[in-house]
Symmetry: C2
Subunit: 218 residues, 2 copies
DNA sequence: AATATAGTGTGTATTTTTTACACTAATAAA
DNA sequence: TTTATTAGTGTAAAAAATACACACTATATT
């Protein structure tokens, strides 16, 4: 009838060829010293989405992040003190914007750290399930969502885009076929700019045309 | 922090070429006399899935139905008396098994009725949003879920299967291409039986081979 | 017995999409 | 100028999707 109500947020980024997720080390019973997905209670009168924004802001310093609801988890045994219903979200952030801002903010958590998706610690509660579901959804919807472009800088190279696809799908893709296909979709804008600061041939930069994207997929 | 906690369930079936949803007429404030998706409070210590089973059993007389979680809806304004968090589910039932069992069970609802998806009344609360989301998900995942086979009798004709696809997708499909494709997928078992009781050439019956299906999509 | 009715069941050609595959061009650093 | 490193490109083959129309079968009706 009445239940405690929290949100948990899988905060995902992409850095150095790896998909990464932000985890917090708990400093409190239960699962003290375990890593977990950041989450908080939703305040009375607070919208869920605002609670997610609150968390992502506190964890990364970013506002206006892109988020999606994942699912509700409400097993009566997920917390030893009784049911705590959590609505899990996924949020996507650009690593360049966030990298040095991660800090612990409450005394519930000792530290926060980015973990490569392929190298995760054991997680508190049912957070491993939540994370697996997040990855599954990310994978399944990849080609008709804007998530790759939420993970990359606004201007990106096709190689970076391919790396995002590869790390989400967990497979390698053929360079020529990937480029042909992405360019043919028609929602990428080729810019007159190139990468800078690389010690080899600089790659062409692209932007996503969100209007064209939405026209294509809605 | 604490919230009321309900589940709502979009119960879907297929009958006479139409996708149908079971709605209940409310007999209580708020939205008295409005149609709504069936839902109840989740009891203390009760698992969400059991609450859904409870509803679908009370509404249709069926146990062991197939269900999927849709999303949580928790807007602070969705109920005039304050936040009531609901986790929405979708459930799929075979019309042949259920048709005469629909009845009102509580004094909260005056009657229950099947509505064709294309001809819905205005709904209470945010139930129209819930229903639209259900349809969207159903459509998006159609070709890699077993939902069509949860809506049809165990033995079905290819024409019936095509009708399910057409009414979910909202488009008409080419008969020859549809058959070719479904049969080529390899998870349909052609039976040695045909339809009975029709006043024209009886169609071949098929079953789905769930093992082969799962091998294909997992 | 003949006919009407209603849905079943089938093939082929065309287009589109996907896949497989390897070398040259450009740039910065040494 | 040489080396190292990544960018950028085309074509052929296979697979999948699409477009399209008619003869067959079973029953009901007269």
């Amino acid at each position: 009838m009445l239940s405690y109500f929290t949100i948990d947020c899988v905060i995902v980024t992409f850095h150095e060829g790896d998909l990464k997720v932000l985890l917090t080390e708990r400093n409190e019973y239960p699962y003290k010293d375990w890593w977990s997905i950041p989450g908080f209670f939703v305040e009375k009168g607070e919208e869920m989405e605002d609670a997610v924004k609150r968390i992502t802001y506190e964890m990364t310093g970013l506002k206006d992040i892109y988020m999606e609801q994942l699912a509700a988890f409400a097993g009566v045994k997920r917390h030893p003190e009784g049911r705590i219903l959590t609505v899990a979200y996924m949020a996507f952030v650009r690593y360049e914007n966030v990298k040095n801002k991660v800090k612990p903010i409450t005394n519930y958590m000792r530290q926060a750290k980015w973990f490569a998706m392929a190298d995760l610690p054991e997680l508190a509660f049912d957070h491993t399930d939540i994370l697996m579901l997040a990855m599954k959804k990310l994978k399944a919807n990849l080609s008709y969502t804007l998530t790759p472009y939420e993970l990359l800088p606004e201007k990106f190279t096709l190689t970076q885009l391919q790396q995002v696809y590869e790390s989400i799908l967990g497979i390698t893709l053929d360079k020529r076929n990937f480029r042909k296909k992405m360019v043919n979709l028609g929602y990428l804008k080729e810019l007159d700019e190139c990468q800078t600061g690389v010690s080899y041939r600089a790659a062409r930069l692209y932007k996503v045309d969100r209007k064209k994207f939405l026209k294509l997929f809605s």
